[in-house]
Homo-oligomer: 130 residues x 2
Amino acid sequence: MSLAETYEAYIACLNARDLDELGRYVADGVIHNGRQLGLSGYREMLVGDYRDIPDLQFRIDFLVVDTSSVASRLHFDCHPKAEFLGVAVNGRHVVFHENVFYRFSAGKIEEVWSVIDKAALEAQLQSLRA
Amino acid sequence: MSLAETYEAYIACLNARDLDELGRYVADGVIHNGRQLGLSGYREMLVGDYRDIPDLQFRIDFLVVDTSSVASRLHFDCHPKAEFLGVAVNGRHVVFHENVFYRFSAGKIEEVWSVIDKAALEAQLQSLRA
């Protein structure tokens, strides 16, 4: 399986919310934005995301892959229930992106650097109010 | 020159503020976050960035390159003069990242999708106040 295929299988796993399979893609000592979450902390983070965004689905818009790293632009079209990234979304419909990098080792995600487009989210809710 | 080398030369051009050379790296019809800026609009955007952040320097922290695309995690360590991304930085020292994707064609940047880590910037200024 190529690294791109492995990554696509990881995203399918997230969309199926099949978190018992998460360890096939994510390393035991995984680091996320500088925090050593480990596999269990990473799983907890996802459980929190699913709780806060009941219709959360991950869609790959753009993908760059080399021998050991993946960079992915993810697209979200959803209704966060309450606050998200400190923004009071309160169930409104929002579309936003995440630009995220992954360093793989032995076929699993070892480290993640993620940035979600908070400014675009805010601009969108601003225009909804206008 | 490999695509990674071309990209590194582009970043060196930005750091040298040698905007007369920008057209070597950026296509005439360049699109930035969905806006068709063109080369002249792209140059204006950079002139604005240099004005707002006098000590702006681009540092590549992580790079993923395939045949026609580059994904780069850029690191900034600087003092924005006033407001930046709607945040009142007012000359304080901040460190933040940008996760950015580039689609190249014929050796030049045709399209850019950039996300700057506004949430991290805010958290940093929050802790400076605490």
